[in-house]
Amino acid sequence: MKSFWRKGATATAALGAAVLALTATGCSPAADKGSTAGSSGPNTTVTVRLWDEQVQKAYEASFKEFEAKNPNITVKTTLEPFSTYFDKLRTDVSGGNADDIFWVSSSYFAPYADNGSLLEIGSEFDSEKSGWVPAAVDQYTRNGKLWGVPQLTDGGIAVYYNKAMLAKAGVDPSDLSWNPTDPSKDTFLKAAQKLTLDANGKTADDPSFDKDHIVQYGYNASQDLQAIYYNFIGSNGGAFQDGEKFVFASDKSAQAFQYVVDLINKYHVSPGAANTNDNGDFLRDQFIQGHVAMFQSGTYNLKNVSDGAKFDWAIAPIPAGPEGRVSVVNNIVAAANAKTTHKDATLKVLQWLGSAEGSKFIGAEGAAVPAVTAAQSSYADFWKAKGVDSSQFAKAAEGKTISAPVGSNYGAAANAWKPIFNEIFLGRTPVKEGLQKAQDAANAAMTQ
């Protein structure tokens, strides 16, 4: 009897052991990028998560120097694509396996700050704080406390343009203006129409223009919050939010949306939204491949355009609206995970990132504008050396600005308006009606 028992038990145990053995060997070739949990020994690994590949490279150079100065701390970076970044971040923070330091944007940081998921950027940083872009510090101060170390400041928005295309069409991009009510004051639309060509070489304002065979688009109107519609709303004197309440269906904002949507669906100076609604990089790639004449965007695409475009290009200001040029500004911070198992090392890395020395790398290869003021010259220097005048972005940021959306449930709100915006941009839902629906849905999601 004993032997039967033993054998039954042996069977189960042997199998269990086999599975265990196999599992123990379960290892990932990519594992070196993960975090080493709870290591408080001589060598601590601090992990940093971000979504920008260009800045990742800059960080790696920066951390090499940091590691030389702090031989007992190793810093690893993790890249998570922007499209899933905030979905993943939430589950990771909740599951306790978020990185020690992670980027957050102004729209998404509130719930993390409110629920104690972040370490406060407190007195350890007092000596550095004055060196940070003040707008960034304001943007990430909630309930009287600062929740991240400013890393990038996007500057304002400007227009990249293909020099040859504009010269050929005789368009001067330096002072275009748009107007939703008075076509006689609208020089921007006329320019965009001249820059849009069909297969026969006819421009978009020609009555015989063939909208089904367009080979060159004038402009990149699309459902792009930061680069496109936010700026149109601002330049028309509208607002997207009042506090945390969405008000984008108001008259001025709706006018701006209508104008952008008409550029796509009525005047055909931008590709249909079917291409762009779910693909934020489509128009950038089209511009780089020489299919779009004017590409409105931010510093975050400067490196991509510079590396990719094989033609002469330059940067102009965004078109002025009835209220002038109002550009969105945004800043990105690095926040610390409240659940980090090695707080001291984490804070040390953050201090490094908040110093001019540590963040100069961000600008040094032209990846982005550092939010540490003293490091910003590295960015301008890099582009000056390349012969690129990037001053338009800074000028836009110094002019009138509209601040990026915020809210404790921003993600849910964005999910609520996104499908309705898709329809608006596809021209299938009337703008005013769709905006009202989207606004109601977004406010409901925000307050749930």
């Binding site: 039967f4 069977a11 923070v93 909740s94 719930p111 499908p419």
Partner: protein
């Protein structure tokens, strides 16, 4: 003696069962209790879960996105099931005619079934792409297959059908080959043409296969996720491809309403149990003969 042996046997039985019993309790039964508990709580993954009673149920049944996703799911099942069944039956009749090469075609038709639905969805997303996609290149059109609310669901359903027809075909082939030759002979002698034989003899005899194919097809279509997620992220145009599985995923892991997502999961569970039970009852009543 006998009781001692029996006890020993029983001991071994329980031991052999122990690991799988643990697995079933921990990963299939316990989760159902957890999902019920979650459905009574409000939880956004960051702040602690808060008991809210039946509020999630009330909210979910007033949620237009959820109600729409129920409709979308039913439409999806109604598009997929009849078409894939008919196509599967049709190709099975072609493949059981004894023509040379039938074995080859049979093998080819099953290939999509072996492949990851997610990756198939990605391939088809390219095929459907408005710019640079293969379908518009073949047809010479400029259609936005996946972003047009009228076309998105049919397109998504077509991919699902495409990947499953070969699988359905196999079952019908098995069913057709199992029909005794004498019965077909007798039908022929009675002067029945091929068409009549199909409708009056073969189809009734295929009833067990038909039930199997329909029931498993319905149950898996109700849960379709992978290829739809790949083809139309975020529920497709106007939510027209937001089937219940993608809705649950979005509610839980994009909008972070774990409580409401749990309610939706429970609704799906009850629905599927109902389908299974109805089919059990029906099956027991109707299938009285044995083909083997």
């Amino acid at each position: 003696m006998a009781s001692k042996r029996a006890r020993r046997e029983a001991g071994i039985g329980y031991l052999l069962l122990a690991p799988s019993l643990f697995g079933i309790l921990a990963f299939l039964i316990f989760p159902i209790l957890v999902v019920i508990w979650l459905s009574l709580n409000s939880w956004n993954l960051l702040s602690p879960a808060k008991f809210v009673g039946l509020e999630n149920f009330v909210r979910v049944f007033q949620d237009t996105a959820f109600l729409r996703s129920m409709t979308v799911t039913v439409l999806f099942v109604l598009l997929v099931i009849p078409l894939q069944t008919a196509l599967g039956l049709f190709s099975a009749t072609l493949l059981t005619r004894g023509l040379p090469g039938s074995g080859f075609f049979r093998v080819i038709y099953v290939i999509p079934w072996i492949c990851a639905p997610l990756a198939l969805g990605v391939v088809w997303k390219w095929i459907f792409a408005p710019t640079g996609g293969a379908l518009n290149a073949v047809l010479g059109t400029n259609t936005s297959w996946l972003t047009d609310p009228a076309l998105a669901l049919p397109a998504v359903a077509a991919v699902s059908i495409w990947s499953q027809v070969g699988y359905v075909t196999l079952f019908f082939m098995a069913g057709l080959s199992a029909i005794p030759a004498q019965i077909l002979d007798a039908a022929r002698i009675d002067g029945s043409g091929p068409w009549q034989t199909f409708w009056l003899v073969k189809l009734p005899l295929l009833r067990p296969t038909m039930f199997f194919v329909l029931v498993t097809g319905i149950i898996s279509s109700f849960q379709a996720f992978d290829s739809i997620y790949a083809l139309t992220p975020n529920g497709g145009p106007q939510g027209t491809t937001d089937v219940i599985a993608t809705r649950i995923y979005g509610e839980a892991f994009q909008s972070f309403n774990l409580g409401r997502a749990s309610v939706m999961a429970l609704v799906l569970f009850v629905l599927l149990v109902a389908v299974t039970l109805i089919q059990q009852l029906y099956f027991r009543k109707r299938i009285t003969y044995d083909l083997s």
